[in-house]
Amino acid sequence: MTPASFAPQDLRFAPTHEWVHVSAEAGAKVATVGVSAFAVAALTDLVYIELPAVGRTVKAGESFGEIESVKAVSDLYSPVSGEIVAVNDDVANHLERLSEDAYGRGWLIKIRLSDEKELAALLDHAAYEKQCAEEAH
């Protein structure tokens, strides 16, 4: 299953650099979660990613995994709450997917939302870009 890449304008972002795309699947709202192209570029030379198992429930703001470069490690924070229904195991063996296609084949997990209202707290692309521009200084 290879989703076509999302347009960044269609995504919501957490201040901690994760992105979310919500779609309806089998009557439930499912969020696809990944990490932003800006963050991937900032981390440089990724070497390892640790992802959770399907079935785990996460809360918004909780760490669901880690991403490592040679000399840095960052937590991945879930932007939303819910049950993890899919994990992109392919990306663990092909980290280049993250830099090549952060908003498509570089997706990380899918979460069945337990609280749709959480989405409202996330940034739209313009606001996120503004935050990134500030961080770059």
Partner: protein, 487 residues
């Protein structure tokens, strides 16, 4: 002139049937092995180790040794590591039979000379620390931190207190928060001021009755003595907490100031740094700790005690935290520390600190015109320069500078630590370097800074290898040699 076979691996040099050592035939009656051991426990064949003759082993490792920079061969200003000269006499003395070939469970009466030495070292370290009691057991500075934190837990527990927090400055070595976590504490970071000292307001905000210990490195990792230490200690003590001093930088204050006098309740020494136990390519070190009398009952067992001129190992310490390792401690390193302290005496130790600080300040005076040193004109035993401007102007980083220094025959300073300074180069010359060496280092740095950025990016050119691919090493780890699969 380099021997290119030297980088072949032992396993590639191996050939079935070669022997490096033979043992005598058994002089006791022999019977079939199966009669001594059950067949299920026996291996079908010995492990598949390489097979080499003795001369090959010697040539292999001797050639490997020439691929290292070392204190014996190069100036090695690796900040926070105190790469001073390692006296040859200490090596010979530590190899004496009564030091090296002694079993840890020999009876006390067979150990009187060695126990006298270890007892003496306990006393000396207590005096240098300005504290009351010493444990020589921890195997390295990080284990010393852990041991002291466990002592603190036991102390508070004994008083009926549970304090779950350890405060650590953001400029601290990573072992501090890691040790705190291992001891079951939550570590809370305290900010530094722009000048690199503890931010007292932030400390006040985070300090409360949940605080067990404040860990401080003083002189700190920027090479500054935090003159607020007395005030910090008063604050922490008033809140009921303890002060832990990370003694990594004791070289700067030997005989000048004592942690116990400026407020520390416990500390560790790094004998492989301060007292010249060699660094051994990454250990062994040792991490003896010194504590105030009220914490002494909780130290690990055993400690060396003296009773009427007789030395003994005391295990009868009911409040002890137990052990953090097997046997007595890293005795071989401790013997060297003893020899070093006895070589210097009180005045000599003070002169070490004076010359370490003199050399660092002199090198600072020569470097500050070349690279900014954010902390200012003076330092203790080391200073931190930054290549941030160089990076901006020329696109060359601290790492590029480090690599180019290797070409000029100098080991690189510590780079990218502490984390509080961008593009940092932490330079610690130590007291055993001459003015000429420091001048040559500064001249090389000046020369390098006048080179085009490309020369820095291409560096090092003269080392056996250049810029290994660390991403590849981490992405597809190859952590052992394996035979080529047979086609």
């Amino acid at each position: 002139m380099r021997n290119t076979r030297s980088t072949q691996l032992l396993f590639e040099l191996s050939k079935p049937g070669r022997r490096g050592v033979c043992f005598p035939a058994a002089d006791v009656p022999t019977q079939p092995l199966e009669r001594l051991l059950p067949k299920s426990a026996l291996a079908d064949a010995p492990p598949p180790l390489p097979e080499l003759a003795e001369p090959e082993v010697v040539r292999h490792f001797t050639n490997l040794s020439t691929l290292n920079m070392s204190v014996d061969t190069h100036f090695y200003p690796l900040g926070s590591c105190t790469m001073k000269y390692n006296p040859k006499r200490n090596e010979r003395l530590a190899a004496l039979p009564g030091m090296a070939h002694v079993h840890p469970y020999q009876p006390d009466e067979s150990l009187q000379g060695l126990l006298a030495l270890l007892f003496g070292l306990q006393q000396y370290l207590a005096e240098i620390a300005g504290l009351d009691a010493v444990s020589l057991q921890p195997a390295a500075g990080a284990q010393g931190e852990l041991t002291a934190l466990l002592v603190a837990v036991a102390y508070f527990k004994d008083r009926g207190e549970r304090r779950p927090h350890v405060l650590v400055p953001d400029s601290a070595h990573g072992t501090n928060p890691a040790s705190a976590a291992m001891a079951g504490f939550e570590s809370i970071t305290v900010r530094s001021t722009p000048a690199g000292l503890v931010d007292l307001d932030d400390l006040r905000a985070k300090l409360d009755d949940q605080t067990a210990v404040f860990m401080i490195t003083n002189p700190n990792t920027l090479g500054m003595f935090d003159a607020q230490i007395r005030e910090i200690a008063d604050l922490v003590h008033k809140a009921g907490g303890l002060i832990y001093l990370d003694g990594a930088n004791m070289n700067a204050i030997l005989g000048i100031a004592r942690p116990g006098d400026f407020g520390a309740d416990m500390m560790h020494f790094n004998p492989h740094k301060t007292f010249s136990g060699p660094h051994g390519g990454g250990g062994p070190g040792a991490g003896p700790i010194a504590v105030r009398a009220k914490l002494a009952p909780y130290l690990p067992v055993p400690v060396v005690v003296e009773r009427d001129g007789h030395y003994a190992l005391d295990y009868e310490r009911p409040k002890s935290i137990g052990r953090v390792r097997s046997f007595f401690g890293n005795t071989g390193v401790l013997v060297r520390a003893y020899a070093y302290i006895r070589t210097h005496g009180p005045d000599g130790l003070r002169r070490i600190a004076e010359n370490a600080v003199l050399n660092a300040n002199y090198l600072l005076s020569q470097v500050k015109g070349l690279l900014p040193v954010p902390q200012g004109d003076r330092c203790m035993h080391e200073f931190v320069a930054t290549a941030a401007r160089l990076k901006q102007e020329k696109g060359a980083t601290a790492m590029d500078l480090a690599k180019r220094l290797l070409d000029y025959g100098f080991h690189a300073p510590t780079v990218y630590f502490p984390l509080t300074v961008r593009e940092s180069l932490m330079i610690e010359p130590t007291e055993t370097e001459s003015k000429e060496t420091l001048d040559a280092f500064a001249a090389a740095l000046a020369q390098i800074l006048s080179e085009p950025a490309a020369a820095l990016h291409d560096a090092p050119l003269t080392t056996p290898i250049s810029r290994p691919d660390e991403v590849r090493a981490a992405r597809q780890p190859v952590l052992r040699w394996q035979p080529e699969p047979v086609e």
